[in-house]
């Protein structure tokens, strides 16, 4: 099982149902796609993530009806600094897709998915708690793992890992 290089050409990935569906819906919202190690990643424009998820959930062919996970990666000091990562699962098709949104450090905010999947509630609270990403439209965006009065966002790369706080 030797590694094959990642395919990042949007044209050659059009065959994938999720990519095809998203392109048919709104080609400008799809910034980029990547197929690497058997996993599909689609980069979505920041303002369209909620609608993109709604499209993928409602589409009878794709049927990505299950939100597995929401998390974030901090690429400090590069810009755009944050990548919010959504893992979608289709229970009928037994297939996964990963959606990503780039956020810059000036205004790390993105629309909440809680209206699409209530499951996003805790996942997004966790990302807010540990990365400081704001999810607009979240019903209860407060710290979930850290104490309420904690300062800073521990999973950011510029957060100090030693010394007194």
């Amino acid at each position: 099982m030797a590694l094959t290089p990642a395919v990042t050409d949007l044209e050659s990935l059009k065959g994938h149902p999720a990519v095809a569906r998203l392109l048919a819906w709104n080609a400008t919202a799809v910034q980029q796609a990547k197929f690497d190690r058997g996993e599909m990643t689609v980069f979505i424009e920041r303002g369209s993530i909620r609608e993109a998820c709604l499209v993928l959930r409602e589409d009878p062919v794709c049927a990505f009806n299950f939100l597995s996970d929401v998390t974030c990666v901090d690429w400090y000091p590069a810009e755009p600094r944050f990548e919010v990562v959504y893992h979608l699962l289709s229970i009928p098709n037994k297939e996964r897709v990963r959606l990503k949104v780039h956020l810059n450090s000036a205004s790390p905010a993105v629309e909440s998915l809680t209206s699409v999947w209530p499951a996003a509630n805790y996942f997004e609270r966790e990302v807010f708690d540990l990365f400081g990403i704001r999810f607009n439209g979240h019903p209860y965006l407060r710290r979930i793992l850290m104490p309420e009065d904690w300062e800073g966002y521990p999973l950011r790369k510029d957060y100090p890992v030693e010394g007194y706080r």
């Binding site: 058997g38 597995s68 996970d69 509630n121 805790y122 996942f123 209860y140 793992l145 309420e148």
Partner: protein
């Protein structure tokens, strides 16, 4: 002063309701779960779980470790199924590396994973029954669990924090007599499951406490991200072992128990039937165990055998380099999910090409399952909350990480 005001605070909705604090030291919350309950007499109006008491920052710790040093951390996330965590993590890293794992290692991983599932389900069954008031089951379950822990000790040297799997294979050959012991256990375990079922399944008190209690529909369960027996108890036939197989699960024959009712009893039945299926998988793994190496042929990743190190210069050099510098993993990202006893456990590992993971994120099945708890309990009786918590089988170590 923020820490002196408990969070989150529920406002009493009307004059007739009151707020009741449950946990974090309540024995039926299985750890340090705190629930704020708004109750109207004995009826639950609202539930708000408050978590984070066990948060240790494992995801942050992982970023400072070499890839192989993360394995012992994964045991401590879900301490009732250490091998499942080990497996999920090593599968993710192996996928990043593009490693081919020899069949014997894969089958041993399946064998140990199913033993882990039995181990975890036994703890669940014992504590769940004890919460509802059936003390005896707990003692019976822990009797069999003890035998599994002894087998784990035999194979890895540890009872609970096994850390037995390695990136590229498993740590050691199982010792002499291990397979006989497992076969022995697989022989008598089905009778023991009958014993548990005799105590519970037909028991009218058990039925009254569990049937029709804390129901959740399939649509709600999917929307709330529930997985594992919590999802299958509501009639969704989905099991990652069968539907998206990993570690050669596709070579095993097993049924996926599904129940339609979506109540506590349905989830109980799913897990008890899973105990029987797991022991069937264990038996198949014993019968068909392939011969061959237990480590992948990748000298830059896998530690060499002790014997080779004494005779071969190269092996010694590789050993030294792996221990001191780790091994570099090609840049990329993977999401690997396995069916843990509690549901979909996922590891999202991002590599930037160095010897330390750039980011490790664990998708905790319990965290999502816990979100279904308010849906199950609101509008029902206070005493049913205890049954509902037991039925989703939460482990706070995994929720808080």
């Amino acid at each position: 002063m923020g820490h002196l005001t408990p969070t989150p605070v529920l406002e009493p909705g009307q004059d007739r309701t009151m707020i009741l604090n449950m946990g974090p030291q309540h024995p039926s919350t299985h750890g340090v779960l705190r629930l704020l309950l708004e109750i109207d007499g004995e009826n639950v109006v609202r539930i708000m779980p408050d978590i984070g008491f066990l948060h240790t920052g494992i995801e942050k710790t992982c970023e400072a470790k070499f890839y192989q040093q993360v394995v012992p951390l994964t045991d401590r996330i879900d301490y009732l199924c250490p091998m499942t965590n080990n497996l999920c993590y090593v599968l993710a890293v192996e996928k990043l590396l593009g490693l081919e794992i020899p069949p014997k290692a894969q089958w041993l991983r399946v064998l140990l994973n199913e033993l882990t599932r039995i181990n975890s389900h036994l703890v669940w069954l014992g504590t769940h029954a004890m919460d509802i008031g059936a003390m005896t089951v707990f003692l019976y379950c822990f009797r069999e669990r003890e035998e599994i822990l002894r087998m784990f000790e035999m194979v890895s040297g540890q009872r609970m924090m096994t850390s037995y799997f390695r990136v590229g294979g498993i740590a050691l050959e199982p010792p002499l007599g291990f397979f006989d012991r497992v076969r022995d256990f697989a022989g008598y375990f089905p009778e023991k499951v009958d014993e548990y079922e005799n105590l519970l399944t037909g028991n009218p008190i058990w039925g009254m406490r569990t049937k029709g209690v804390a129901t959740i529909t399939a649509e709600d369960a999917i929307a709330l991200g529930a997985s594992g027996p919590t999802l299958r108890g509501s009639g969704v036939d989905f099991d990652l072992r069968r539907d998206m197989p990993y570690s050669s699960y596709e070579k095993f024959q097993f049924k996926v128990p599904v129940a339609q009712e979506g109540d506590v009893f349905a989830r109980y039945m799913c897990r008890v039937l899973e105990l029987r299926e797991s022991i069937a998988i264990v038996r198949q793994a014993l019968d068909g165990m392939p011969e061959g190496p237990i480590k992948a042929n990748a000298p830059k990743v896998v530690l060499p055998d002790r014997e080779k190190m004494k005779t071969e210069m190269e092996a010694l050099i590789y050993h030294f380099k792996i221990i001191t510098e780790g091994f570099a993993v090609p840049a990329g990202e993977v999401y690997q999910a396995v069916e843990s006893p509690r549901g979909e456990m996922g590891y999202y590992v991002v590599s930037d090409g160095t010897a330390k993971p750039y980011r490790v994120h664990m998708r905790a099945a319990c965290l999502a399952n816990l979100q279904a708890l308010p849906k199950m309990c609101e509008g029902r009786l206070l005493a049913d909350v205890v049954a509902a918590i037991g039925s989703i089988d939460i482990v706070l170590g995994e929720i808080d990480r």
